[in-house]
């Protein structure tokens, strides 16, 4: 892992109109695809990752939940690890940043509860 920071621009590096949750339902530009193709490799290869969400204001909740919450639920990252290494920003829509924080927290609770059960 490189001791550096990498920035991913959703619009420039992934697609202009991200939409939906699963790759098998909507094959283009889903949250799952963003996570698997860009986010997970970046987190594995770089110490710090920043996701720049600027350039699109119409992200659906499913896309954001699957892209970010899925890191904890499906990819095995811990909330603490992501809290230390992953940052994200949307200059104009703070609700998007708040929603990502909320979905990471929900995924953390989900995984911890499943562990206890």
């Amino acid at each position: 892992m490189k001791e550096d920071i990498v920035t991913i621009s959703v619009v420039k590096d992934f697609g202009e109109k991200p939409y939906g949750r699963y790759m098998d339902i909507n094959t283009k530009l889903s949250g799952e695809e963003f996570r698997k193709v860009l986010l997970v490799p970046s987190l594995k290869n770089h110490k710090y990752v920043h996701v720049d969400l600027d350039g699109y204001n119409r992200y659906g909740r499913s896309f954001l939940d699957e892209a970010f919450g899925g890191l904890i639920r499906d990819e095995g990252f811990s909330w603490d690890d992501l809290n230390a290494r992953l940052t994200y920003s949307h200059t104009l829509v703070k609700s998007i940043e708040n929603l990502i924080a909320d979905r990471l927290q929900a995924a953390r609770i989900s995984v911890e509860s499943a562990g206890q059960e």
Partner: protein, 386 residues
């Protein structure tokens, strides 16, 4: 003759009618005059007034089957003396079953009003019934004799084109009024939000509001794709959308002809927790009846004790088990956000046998058991414009 009704609060009419009440005697006088004119017209044509033929009745003519629209095409008035819901759905059902199977004429001559929610359901029925038609000629349209505004709606929102087999375009380039839009997946989604932003908000929509709209529309059509048509190929998971600004209100409705929310909500992993939380009594009744099904197996029996309106309400709550941890059930939060985060927001959800209405953010919804099953799901928001 033209009679007018006070618009039901929360509902919206496509035609902006001038409200003018006719007293009873004037109404009777006008009706008698209309019958006399009809009888005279028949005599002039050499016909006879048959006792078995009633005024207003349409007969098959030269092999053309009539489908007669009711006076008020409106699904908002579900209960009470002015109930228009049942006649509207019967009309739409006849459209669905007869159109495309021989020569038909759709007769709007007696129609006085046309609501947007009913219009999009009607449009979808025509669209699907005629989807396999080749060329023009199998359908004729008789325009309203009662309201020019009904006629302009039929023309401007592309219903006339659809019925008569003309090509319907879903491009919004250069249009003043957004016609009914239709798509699969997120087709046209950005064009629709662009239209709302540019033509309705006049480029003054801030980024946070744009996000709330984008999220709600995106999640609603994604729900259609994910849940509404469980056994259909992706290309057939179609939705229809109508959007209209009227004064200071924006009315937006998305419709699908899928299996309905009550059928799919029971499949969600969070559903049982929500039932325990919101309907402990009914949950207890089920456990008494089926103790062997304790656990998720009981979900499929829930519709036997909880009506569709309540199941819609539960679906809009999403995961209310306390943790909000499940990945699914998130779309409903986006649907509710468009009501909760915009001033004057209202929400109506029709699906199968139920209707759930939020008249004010934060209030408990009004739940209604529908007198006749609704074909699919319609989600409608009313939003106050700045």
């Amino acid at each position: 003759m033209c009679t007018f009704r006070k618009e039901q609060e929360g509902a919206f009419q496509l035609g902006e009618s001038v409200v003018k009440k006719l007293d009873a005697s004037r109404k009777i006088y006008l009706e008698r005059a209309a019958i006399a004119r009809w009888e005279n017209a028949l005599k002039r044509r050499g016909g006879r007034v048959n006792s078995h033929k009633k005024y207003g009745e349409r007969k098959e003519f030269g092999g053309w089957h009539p489908i007669v629209a009711p006076e008020n095409i409106n699904v908002y008035e579900v209960l009470g003396e002015r109930e228009t819901y049942t006649k509207t759905l019967e009309f739409i059902s006849e459209i669905q079953s007869r159109l495309g199977k021989g020569k038909c004429y759709v007769d709007f001559s007696a129609t006085e009003s046309l609501s947007a929610a009913a219009f999009v359901v009607l449009y979808a029925a025509v669209d699907t019934a005629l989807s396999s038609r080749v060329g023009k000629g199998a359908v004729k349209v008789i325009f309203s004799e009662k309201s020019e505004q009904v006629n302009s709606i039929i023309r401007n929102y592309n219903l006339y084109k659809l019925l008569t087999g003309e090509k319907v375009s879903y491009s919004l380039d250069g249009v003043r009024v957004m016609p009914v839009m239709s798509g699969v997946g997120n087709e046209c989604m950005d064009e629709i939000i662009d239209f709302i932003q540019k033509k309705i908000y006049l480029d003054k929509m801030n980024a946070e509001t744009e996000y709330v709209y984008g999220d709600a529309v995106s999640e609603t059509i994604y729900n259609v794709e994910l849940h509404a048509y469980p056994n259909s190929p992706a290309s057939e998971k179609r939705w229809w959308l109508i959007c209209r600004a009227k004064g200071k209100m924006l009315h937006l409705a998305i419709y699908d002809k899928g299996v309905g929310i009550p059928k799919t909500v029971v499949e969600h992993p969070w559903f049982l927790g929500s039932v325990q939380n919101k309907h402990p009594k009914e949950y207890g009744v089920l456990l008494e009846k089926f103790p062997e099904l304790r656990g998720s197996g009981i979900s499929r029996y829930i519709p036997t004790v909880i009506s569709d309106d309540k199941l819609i309400y539960l679906s809009l709550q999403g995961d209310v088990s306390g943790t909000n941890r499940d990945r699914h059930g998130q779309g409903s939060k986006s649907i509710m956000a468009l009501v909760n985060d915009t001033p004057g927001g209202r929400l109506w959800v029709f699906s199968n046998d139920g209707l759930c209405k939020y008249e004010k953010a934060g209030d408990e919804p009004e739940l209604v058991q529908l007198p006749q099953s609704f074909p699919g799901t319609l989600i409608q928001w009313n939003i106050e414009l700045p």
